[in-house]
């Protein structure tokens, strides 16, 4: 192969590789642009899920509240550990418009048992694989738990958190958004 041809081939190959790398990097990024988030928030508020008794429960009834939607499961120890703090905050700020909603990717029986144990004072809804897929569009790329979404009174997403939400951090956010 002639030297110039070889150099051109190398240059072109380099550009292709670089573009491919940029493309993959972009496509791997979490959905984070405003429109996708807005759509995901609308989908979340439009959701209807059964509670532990099987009663279909629409999330739309809580529009206008400061909504803290917590995706969890009884098989997730870190999820169980943060819930007593949610119960305390619900008791303290419920009258002011704070509403926790738990979406458990779990059996209703196990959820009911745990809810009774910790004196759960907010709705425990049962979500399946669809709920985990929804959490992915909200930014939970790995579909891990716990995953919490805070929805402001105006229906927009104020905060998302993968992993436990510390009491003082949550309290600070509730104080500002309530």
């Amino acid at each position: 192969m002639r030297r110039r041809t070889a150099l051109v081939v190398i240059l072109v190959a380099g550009i292709v590789a670089l573009s491919a790398g940029i493309y993959v990097g972009r496509s791997d990024r979490q959905p984070s642009d405003g429109t996708q988030r807005e759509e995901a928030a609308a989908t979340l508020l439009g959701l209807t899920l059964p509670d532990v008794a099987g009663k279909e429960t629409p999330l739309a009834q809580w529009r206008g509240k400061l909504l803290v939607v917590n995706f969890w499961a009884t098989w997730c120890a870190p999820c169980r550990e943060e819930m007593p703090e949610f119960v305390r905050l619900q008791a303290e700020f419920g009258a002011k418009g704070l509403q926790f909603v738990g979406i458990a990717v779990d059996d209703a029986d196990k959820v009911r048992q745990f809810a009774a144990e910790i004196g759960l004072n907010y709705p425990a809804l049962i979500g399946g694989f669809g709920a985990m897929e929804l959490s992915k569009t909200l930014g939970n790329r790995l579909m891990a738990l716990p995953f919490t979404v805070i929805v402001s009174r105006d229906g927009t997403i104020a905060h998302t958190q993968l992993g436990p939400l510390k009491g003082d951090q949550l309290l600070a956010m509730v104080g500002k958004l309530i």
Partner: protein, 151 residues
């Protein structure tokens, strides 16, 4: 905070490995009857023993695979809980030798990270050829399906 600014939602997310990398699965045939599956578990991650299931497709197993003991922890809700860290190796044996046959090792697992996050249950499969003669065969790593660039 963020709520007063249009479109500026805050997000917090720990640095987490993909589950296939946090719990890296590989397998090899030891001979025409037995397969060995291994999870290499990254530091700061662990698997639950009671959520670990190994099986072979197709093929009747001589017995349910024996899972090694894990580290025992007392959990407030579930009582005694056993977990694996570092690595876990499980042997699965067919009821009858199948030299030269292709089998699929199926591993079901569920694990968490110490930072306080749990992954959904995973199902992974590895295709293996059982040796026609004496073993062992090569180690085969689990390969996740390549992402579709055009999605």
């Amino acid at each position: 905070m963020a709520a007063l600014t249009l479109g500026a939602a805050s997000a917090q997310s720990p640095d987490l490995l993909e589950p296939e990398r946090a719990f890296s699965l590989s397998a090899r045939a030891l001979d025409a009857t037995t397969v060995e599956a291994r999870f290499a578990i990254a530091d700061g991650y662990y698997l639950y023993r009671d959520k670990l299931k190994l099986s072979l497709e197709p093929g009747a197993l001589v017995a349910a695979p024996v899972l090694p003991p894990g580290k025992i922890k007392q959990d407030e809700f579930f009582g005694k809980v056993e977990t694996y860290r570092g690595k876990v190796v499980v042997r699965v044996s067919l009821a009858a030798p199948a030299p030269g046959a292709t089998v699929t090792v199926k591993a079901e697992s569920q694990g968490c990270a110490d930072v306080g996050v749990c992954y959904p249950p995973q199902v992974q499969k590895i295709a293996l050829s059982l040796p026609a003669g004496a073993g062992p065969g090569p180690v085969v790593e689990f390969a996740p399906v390549k992402k579709n660039w055009f999605k």
